[in-house]
């Protein structure tokens, strides 16, 4: 089992958090999200992203609006709802807490 495999479920679990972070920074379009993540360890694909976004929207964490684009049909631009922002703040706190826990347990290198 490679390192990559060992962390695969963690990466999967973190994806939602990262997407909320990206959307919080700016109104984005799905291709933007994929672009932002493509160079990271969290690179993902439409097949994963669309169902995830639809789940987040059902949970009322984000919403979208249609915007005209110069090339082709209108696009969905996503943004956080108030509930989404609140959840992101909570996730950020928790993430710091986990980080601190990882740091505090034993040697880190």
């Amino acid at each position: 089992m490679t390192i990559d495999d060992k962390f695969s479920s963690i990466r999967k679990g973190l994806l939602e958090f990262l997407i909320l972070k990206i959307i919080a920074a700016d109104k984005v379009y799905v291709a933007d999200i994929i672009e932002r993540l493509s160079s990271t360890d969290f690179s993902t694909q439409e097949g994963t992203l669309y169902p995830l976004l639809s789940k987040l929207r059902r949970e009322d964490l984000l919403d979208y609006e249609w915007k005209e684009s110069e090339a082709g049909p209108p696009r969905k631009y996503y943004k956080l709802t108030a509930k989404g922002k609140a959840q992101l703040a909570e996730l950020n706190r928790y993430w710091k807490h986990i980080n601190a826990t990882v740091q505090s347990l034993g040697p880190s290198s």
Partner: protein
Amino acid sequence: MKRVITISLNGNAYQLEESGYEAMRAYLDVASTRLKDNPDRDEIISDLEQAIAEKCGRFLGPNKTVVSTTEVERILAEMGPVDSPAADTGPAASPSGSASGGHADGAPKRLYQIKEGAMVSGVCNGFAAYFNVDVTLVRLVFVLLTLLTGGVWILVYLVMMFVIPRASTSEEHAAAHGQPFNASELIERAKKQYEDFRSSHNWRKAQTEWRGRLREQQRRWRHQQREWRRRWRDSWDWEGRSYWRAPVDRPPPSYATRVIAGFMIPVFAILSAALFVIWLVMLISLASTGSILGWHLPHDVPVWAGILILVLIYTAVSGPLHMARRASLYAASGRPYGWYGFGDGVIRLGFIVLFLWVAYHFVPGVHELIDRLPDLWQTVTHEATTTAMNWLN
């Protein structure tokens, strides 16, 4: 030269090579199956279509209008497999979804006819797959049943040949085999279906609902029929290039539709045969005696006008029936022509002969009418020749 398929993705038209189209359709089918329990399925599918469409746009330009198969494959690889987040986000996911079916891949098991390795039509093969037993055993049981019922089982077999849909796609083959057969699960399912039926319907309501559904279905078949004709024409483009407009928005007929359609094929064949025989007897009667089985035409209507009216009425009545037959053939077989069409023709012809025989022997008047046919023929030809001679002279 390759065949090109025009599809509509989220409202825009794209042209794909045929095998590329197959790959894309398979991708979207799988996505649709995986998202089966997702309340936003349609929306996600349309999002995916738009994403694919945009990626297609990348490969197209003023001098390139067709997306090649390798390009479609690259696009689909970029899209990645569609996940269903409900399934892997742990305890938060809906518990009802996993409890209801118990099927690993979400496809319910269904009874199909399987042609591969079939001896007659694939009915036994389908049963073998459904119950997960050896096909020889099923065949033995069928032979035994035939012997025990004195041949009646052959009729049952014929009915099954029509009613049980044939597995033609890979998904249908998968559904035919489904999961390893498990008796308790089958009983559970049957119980649940019975409970559902009892709790949600009373009989009368179910009946009217069924009738309404059938009407709706017939309307749809007729529509499909027209669509088929149009596509048939389109696919034989005069240049030899064929543009096959893919019905992205119209799924193939459902299992239930195909069962009903298979059931309706013989019904329609019998109806159409009966109609034909009644019409034929009326026509002969009118031509030979000037009356339709005792009912005389009004004095000012000549016989030829009566015949014309009869022909018009027959056309008007048999037209929709014919359409319904063709549509149910298509719905049952998934193809416009082929084996089903042949079976349908044979059944219809058989019933025409049967009805004629019954009418000849049991309906008073018809016997004499048919016996008088040679005379009638002579009279008609004689009159026709004399009229023609008179007119020529």
